[in-house]
Structures are given as structure tokens and as C-alpha cells.
Amino acid sequence: MGALLIVRDLCAGLIIRLLAVGYGLYHDSTNEVKYTDIDYNVYTDAAAYVVKGQSPYLRETYRYTPILAWLLTPNITTSWDSYGKILFSLFDILACYLIYLIVLQEHGNDRVLARKCTYLWIFNPLPIVICSRGSSESIILCLVLAVLYLFLKKTYLLCGLVYGFAVHFKIYPATYCLPLYLCLGGGSSTRNLTSVKAFSLHVLKDVLTLTQPRLILVLSSVIGFTLPTAVCYWIYGYEFLDETYLYHVTRTDIRHNFSLYFYLLYLNTDVGGTLGLLLKILSFLPQAFLILLVTFLFTTQKDLIFVMFIQTYCFVIFNKASSVVAAGLGLAAVGFAGRYVLRRMPNMAQQMTEAMKTLPNLDEALSSGKYYKGGFDPKMNRREASLILGISPSANKARIKEAHKRLITINHPDRGGSPYIASKINEAKDYLENQGGGSSGLRR
């Protein structure tokens, strides 16, 4: 039943995205400023070259793997140019499903929680607009989430292959290689930061320890990257390497006016020599430093997802070609949010889970006869208590009593009921009575 519910949610997400694609068609036909992403036209033009048997790199500013152009050839061959947007929407839905799987993996098969977490992506206007405008980000997102999921499933061979392919597809996930590698260390978890030297020594030792999962991950990543890259190089030659990878390292275009570096790079455009070199380093160093710092500080906690998130954020904020609207604002936001989150880190996951659980459950009305997977929660809480008694969490004392009486008569151990269940029913009643109403009931 739970599996069916996620399918329903994913279908709803897909319908929303398809409607957005449809709106895009209407918008583009009536407005000067288009809904369609300019990059979508770039992919489509590149696909047109591919269909003609030419190199996709004939299209100026096409700086992606040729696989993307191959994927989009139906845009040309079927003359149905929304095909790519629908493809990207499908990948976005796949990403939602991967989020679902990852949460299930992380939180002991709590399907309700997992579904609620996917809502953050399924019904989030930002990803809906991004994929329906025809931006290919959903593909790379799927690849990265698949890497995370396979990593949590401990299938390192497949994980490495997908990771290698993700780096082939877009070079940016390359920054995740260190946390992925470090998280597989067998190192001890007791760590104190009182001595920086001890800490660095430990890290160095950890990096150099080659465990079997690490070896598998590294080798499969190399294969996953090399294989598609070699095929593309064989077909399109040096141009492919230059446009897809080297360009991102050597890029000098100065028109990314949402980047923190925009005006700096524009005004210093002809500064050469030592100062010019210094500026180049300046525009690269903060990213590199923060990415390494967060990696070495936190991978010892085995919190891969957290490390990858902070890495991505630092990368985007300090990017020369960032399209993030308010990079400066983002910088402050991530700083404060990060501090808040980190201070409360140990309780964070639990609090998050609680918060998600107290969200009203949309499905109860729609689905009858489903049961809750998994056991009781480690500690009695409002939601569980009300579920056990079958009443609303805000029910008054009389209703609590009534429900308790009804249930305990049926389940009483003296009449063949389970003592454990009976104790849970009692605990639920006590919990609700102590929590609600304000009057203090006596604990047994």
C-alpha cells in the first residue's frame, strides 16, 4: 500500500511538470521573454548537428558531454521539441523516487516520513520550473542521488560506476570524490580537536589507509569515468575534452553578473602578471579551501550527505559562473543556517523526523486498510499515542478515557490479549493525559 502511495505522489509530480511544460509552450508563443531556458536551445541545436552526423561542438557554447545531445536527438527527428523537457521532467521524478529510497534507507523504512520528504522536491516550485524550462540539471541530480543511495546500500561497485559516469556527464561532482573515499575508512571515531597536529596526522593516516571498499570504489569510479569519456574522445577527439572539461577550468567569460566575482573580474580584465595570477588564484582558492575543510572535518562523522551538501553550497556561492540570484545573500544565509543547524546537529535528525511526523497526514483519509510498517517508536510520542488509541491528538480527556477503556477491554491480558500491546495502550493513554488538557494525570 505504501509503495502505491509513492507512485501516486510521483504521478502527481509528473502531471504538474507536464502542465508546466504545456504552460511553457503557451508562454513562449505569447511573450517576448521566453520560458524556455536558453541552454535548451543549445542542446537542441547540438542535437540537430548530431542528427546530421556532425559534431555537437559545432554549436557555440555547447559545453556538455555528447551523450546529452544524443539523448535529445528526438527533439529533431520527431520535430516535437518538448521531448527534452519531458525527458528532464521524468528524470526529476526519478530524483524524487531516489530521495524516497534514500530516506527509507536512512530511517529504517519509515514510509510515511520518506514520502513527506519527497514532497519537498515533488511539489517544490523551483525544481518544477527548472526541469520544465528544459535545463538538464535533473539528470546530474539523479546521478548524484543514485551515487548516494548505492553508497548507503553499500554496493560500492555500482556506486563507483555511477559516480564515474556522473563526473563524465558534468565535471562538478568531482568534488565529492574525497568525502566518498574518506567515508569508507575504518578509522576510529574518537577524535578530539584539541591538537591540530594530532588531528591532521590522524587524517593523513586515514587517507592513506586503503580498505577493500575504498579500492573497489576507486577502481569502479575510474572505469565509470574513463569508459564513456574514451568513447566520446574516440568519436569527437580533442574538441570534446576541451569544450566539456578544460573550458570549465580556464573559463574567462566575464558576463556572469550574478556571481560574486563579476565586477571584480570585469574591471580587472586586462590585469596581467603577478596581480593577474593572484586574482585567478583568489577566484579559485575559497572554493577549494572550504570544500577541503568541510571534507576533512566531517567525513569522520560518516555524515556523507551533510558533507556533500555543504560542499555543494560552498562551491555555488564562490563560483565565478554562478547563476544563483543572490550569491551574497546566500553566503550569509548558509552561514547562519549552517551555524544553527550545526549547533543542534546531534538532535537534528531526530527533530527533523519528529517535525515531519507531526505534519498532517494527507493519506489517512484517502487510504483505508493500510497498516504502519515498522515497530513502535523508541519513545512514546503524541502521534503514536493517538494512533494507538485511534483518536485525534487533540482529543479531550473524556474521549481518551473512553477509547482507552474500549481498547483495554478487548486487549486485556486476562482475556488472552498481548501484555505488551496492553502496556502500550496504557502508556499511550498516560502520555496523552499528561501532555494534553493541562491537568496532570498520575503516572502509573
Binding site: N192, L260, L267, I310, G335, G338, L342, M345
Partner: protein, 306 residues
């Protein structure tokens, strides 16, 4: 971009414009000679092929900022021309515009190919447009060929209006105080002209060559004419292998000044911006680093307690 108050009359406006242009030219900022052809070509006085064809280009540069549009209409009054009028309407004689945009401006071939109505008439002849480079680094020129469709009313041939999107490249940063102390500056700013003329740079939008070609012209015949010829594509769809000889048709234009003002970065604030950006980035990095390290320390402490 020129900011003019509505109350200022046309004369005042044009006076200000002239002043600004003078200022800019004195300072030698930007611009460039129009790629209009030589004086000889303009006059074509000994060319019998173009006799009796009085052409007029009506051009408007619409929209604002870095992305604008050229609205071109060509009108030709035919009086005692050796070419009969019906040869234009039955497409034996063709008209075209050929424009070479220098480094400051480009036409995006991919954008143009998406515009219905325009895509069939236009052909961008350069293979590489260098879409991302700023003006001072752009290695490519946009050479744009537009085939015109004409209709005749009486002795007047009028083309359909062509709308071509053009894009200005970023210009090299200039000092925004470079006109300070200039005697005319007070007059410019005070009269409701630009807020700061030095914040803009004039870019010349080149006028096209107007081309004429008739099918029965052969190379032998045209070689004897004292005309200025341009060898280019035969039509917007023809292959690059077969070129045609076109005669450059002299014309008058309504647009006296084809200058567009483009905002430009202030090189005076180079040091300020560099230092400020550096400080913001360093501050951000330090803040983030401390936050991360503090969090790490706290977590380690908690782990110890547990």
C-alpha cells in the same frame, strides 16, 4: 542609452547628442568608422545599372540596453531606370542587404534561425560568432546577408520591414570621471541629458550595403560597367560555392546618427571593487571556516560525554 526629459525639445536633444558625440570623439572612446563602403561606391556616378533607382533606408533602433533590434525598411523610387519595374516584382531582379558588424556588435545565428519569417531571408555568413567574448577580445565579425522581398505601388518599390535582433558586447571599463572639468559637461548634465555621460560609451551601428542583382547579368557585361560590385551569396538559401556579382546601390538613410550608448564599467573603482570583493570573500571564508570548526569541536565534546 540616452535619458532625455520629455520637455526638452528635439533641437535641444540633438544638440546634446552632438555635444556628447564630440566629447566622446575628443576622448577617442569607442566608435569606429561605418562600414558603409567607399565614397566612390556611395555615389556610383558612372554606373548605368543603378541609374534611376533612388533608394532610401528607413531604420529604427528599437529596445533598450545590450539587446536591441534593427527595424529596416528599404524604399526605392524608380524613375527612368534601365530595369523595368516588373522585373523586381517577378523576382528576376533581387535586392539584398549586406551588413558587416564589427567587434562591438553581433547577431546570434541561432537566435535568428528561431524567428519565424526572418529565418528564410537571413543568412549569417561567418561560421563562428564568438558569442561570449567582450568587445575587445572578440575575434569574429558578424556578416549578415538579408534578402529583401519587395512590393511595388506605382513607381515605388517597398521592402517588407526586417527586424534583426542585435547584441552589444561588453566594452572595456572606462574612467567615469574622464569628462570631469570639461567645459561642456555642466551643460550636458544640467539640461537633463545623461546622468553621467562618462558612464556610457558610444557604439556605432553600421549601415548595410544595399545590393542589386538581376538574373540576366553575365559576368562579361558587368565587367564593362563602371560600377562597384560586391561578390557574395546569390540568395539566403544558396550555397557558398556559387557566388553572385551584386551591384552596390547608393541610398539615403533617415538615420543620421547610428550611435547607441552602452553602459560601461568604471575603471576608477577598480581598486575599491577589488579590495571590497576580496574582503567580502575572505570574511565569508573565515566565517564559514570558524562555524564549521566550532560545530566540529562541539560535536566531538558531545561524543566524549556520551
Amino acid at each position: 542609452m540616452i535619458i532625455l526629459k520629455r520637455r526638452v525639445g528635439v533641437n535641444a536633444a540633438s544638440m546634446i547628442l552632438t555635444l556628447i558625440l564630440q566629447l566622446m570623439l575628443v576622448e577617442g572612446g569607442g566608435g569606429g568608422s561605418p562600414s558603409f563602403g567607399t565614397q566612390n561606391e556611395l555615389r556610383q556616378k558612372n554606373c548605368s545599372l543603378v541609374r534611376g533607382l533612388h533608394a532610401n533606408l528607413i531604420r529604427f533602433i528599437t529596445k533598450e540596453g545590450f539587446h536591441r533590434e534593427l527595424e529596416d525598411t528599404v524604399e526605392i523610387t524608380v524613375t527612368n531606370s534601365p530595369i523595368p519595374l516588373n522585373r523586381f516584382t517577378n523576382k528576376e531582379c533581387k535586392l539584398a542587404m549586406l551588413t558587416k558588424f564589427v567587434g562591438d556588435i553581433y547577431v546570434d545565428p541561432y537566435e535568428v534561425s528561431q524567428i519565424g519569417g526572418l529565418q528564410d531571408m537571413i543568412r549569417i555568413q561567418n561560421n563562428w560568432t564568438d558569442l561570449e567574448s567582450p568587445a575587445w577580445l572578440a575575434k569574429s565579425n558578424s556578416t549578415v546577408f538579408v534578402q529583401l522581398t519587395v512590393k511595388s505601388t506605382g513607381n515605388l518599390l517597398a521592402s517588407d520591414t526586417i527586424r534583426i535582433p542585435i547584441h552589444f558586447r561588453y566594452q572595456k571599463p572606462q574612467s567615469h570621471s574622464r569628462f570631469d572639468g570639461h567645459p561642456d559637461l555642466e551643460l550636458l548634465v544640467g539640461n537633463g541629458g545623461m546622468m553621467n555621460p562618462a558612464g556610457y560609451i558610444p557604439v556605432n551601428v553600421p549601415l548595410p550595403r544595399l545590393l542589386l542583382h538581376c538574373e540576366d547579368w553575365d559576368y562579361q557585361q558587368t565587367a564593362n560597367e563602371h560600377c562597384h560590385f560586391v561578390k557574395t551569396l546569390c540568395s539566403s538559401k544558396s550555397s557558398v560555392d556559387s557566388m553572385c556579382q551584386w551591384v552596390a546601390l547608393p541610398y539615403k538613410s533617415n538615420s543620421k546618427v547610428n550611435t547607441v550608448f552602452i553602459p560601461v564599467g568604471d575603471s576608477d573603482s577598480q581598486l575599491l571593487i577589488t579590495v571590497a570583493t576580496f574582503l567580502v570573500i575572505t570574511g565569508g571564508v573565515i566565517f564559514l571556516s570558524f562555524t564549521l570548526i566550532n560545530a566540529k569541536t562541539e560535536m566531538s565534546k558531545r561524543q566524549h560525554r556520551e
